[in-house]
């Protein structure tokens, strides 16, 4: 599951995942509200199966509900706190990193400017969380 407002970033991330055959089963939500709606199966997502994503790639700067707020909501909810969350952001800022880790993020990745590095980072994340990592029970199996 990807939470990212910027269509270019979405495309680049999906391109990187497609390159490594990881793009099937990717859900893209475009803001924090939509992401929470998806997780809680509200609104447009009320018919989806009751499974949590294997991993959530979360941007910090999002319209409506910010990434940190989404993170806080997830990590304070008994049913959702097990969902692995990876912050994938442009920000190097120490305060973002500190706050994310304090809220219990599972990983913090700064999007590299270099495209190869970016593709590599996304691939590694995809491979690790979707293939290598054993997701918590109740997660969507790949």
């Amino acid at each position: 599951m990807i939470v990212e407002d910027d269509p270019n970033d979405v495309e680049l991330t999906l391109t990187a995942l497609t390159d490594h055959n990881l793009a099937n089963e990717v859900v893209v939500t475009r803001d924090g509200q939509q992401a929470l709606d998806y997780l809680y199966r509200r609104g447009e997502f009320n018919t989806r199966a009751a499974e949590n994503p294997a991993v959530m790639l979360l941007d910090l700067k999002l319209p409506k509900v910010s990434g940190l707020e989404v993170l806080q909501q997830i990590k304070s909810d008994e049913r959702l706190k097990m969902v692995p969350v990876v912050v994938l952001t442009s920000s190097h800022e120490e305060q973002d990193m500190m706050r994310s880790y304090r809220l219990g993020v599972n990983a913090y990745v700064v999007k590299p400017v270099d495209f190869h590095e970016f593709v590599n980072a996304v691939k590694e994340l995809g491979v690790f969380w979707a293939v290598i990592n054993e997701p918590p029970p109740g997660s969507l199996k790949k």
Binding site: L12, S90, H92, E94, K111, P112, D114, F115, H116, F118
Partner: protein, 444 residues
Amino acid sequence: MKAMKKSVTMTGLAQGPTRAGVGRRMVYWNREFQTIHSPVLRYGFAVVSVAIALGVASAMQHYQFHDVELLVFTVAIALSTWYAGIGPSILAVVLSSLCFDYFFTQPLYSFDVSARELPYYFIFVVWAAIVASFSAVRRRMEDSLRQARDNLQVEVEQRRNKEDEIRKLNQALVKRAAQLEAANKELEAFTYSVSHDLRAPLRHMVGYSELLQRQASSSLDEKSQRFIRTILDAAKRMGNLIDDLLAFSRIGRAEPETVAVDLAQLVKEVVAETGQDTKGRDIVWKIGALPVCRGDRAMLRLVLVNLVSNAVKFTSMRRPAKIEIGCVDGNMTDVEVFVRDNGAGFDMQYVNKLFGVFQRLHLPEQFEGTGIGLATVQRIIHRHGGQVRGEGAVDQGATFYFSLPKVPEVAERRRPLHDHTGTHFDRRGRPERRGADSDGADGP
């Protein structure tokens, strides 16, 4: 307030009853009674006192109260001394003596003094003089006490004024601090937004250029390929510039620690680290004795890393390259450390541009780098209360100096080296992360 100040500084002389308030009025009348100012009045007071005393003494004698005249005159002398001062008191003594002689000693109604009465008369004069002098002394004491009290009042007043002033200054300071804090917050918000928002479009430029390169590499001619490469390089360079600028501003915001830092140890580490990047190069290192100084270890390390890697970078065409690190004992409070090389050097004409952000004195083809290294050095040293300067000549090498406050006590030198566990900076001043940065530190 001004009028009041004036009133207390002028101690008791010629003041009109101008002040309001019962307390002050009391003080005023008290003072007016204590001192009669006009000389005529003062001497007149003495004469009148003695005359009254004479009248009272005569009346008493008339009513057969004998031997009280001495007491009555004494009272008159004391009063004159008390209220009118030294001159009138002498007059009162003389007048009383004369009156006493004329009216109360044998032979009566004559200034002659009989031999029998002479000691009696003499005792009277002495007694009168003693009373007068005691009275005068007491008067003087009271005057000086009053003076002291007035001075105290003035001081209290001044202190109150000063306290008011301090309070006002304090308020101004608090206001200023709040303004500064707001400005700082704004600046932080700015760098935060730069960090978030400026890098995203860059990433897209790089990403889509790469995609284009991949997608259309077969159909593009060599020129178009070069254009795409230029776009990529420029975007990456801009990414580096933004990263450097953010790191630079982060140094400005981080509060430096002050622990004892062994510069000799630090230089050893930095040179060893640089040595890994300079395998195959012929570099002669000369490292002199270096002191222990106070500062933030991570930041000072960054200073040395920047200066040393600059020296390495700008001597790349020398065989052998000579790099010297040492210290000159500047003065009592500061120690000055220098890094000298025999590299490309610079024209002293541009010395004031050396430490500017993104200022470069060489073409990018000659020496790589964004030009933030020395700006970082300067910022760190300034934050430590020191100074930086550079000396050099084209093709003659360059020397960079920085000064730092000395460790004051000898005991401090013996302290074990502080193992710094705070933020670690890479050579650009960014907190250390992936080891992806391969290019050297930057400089002119």
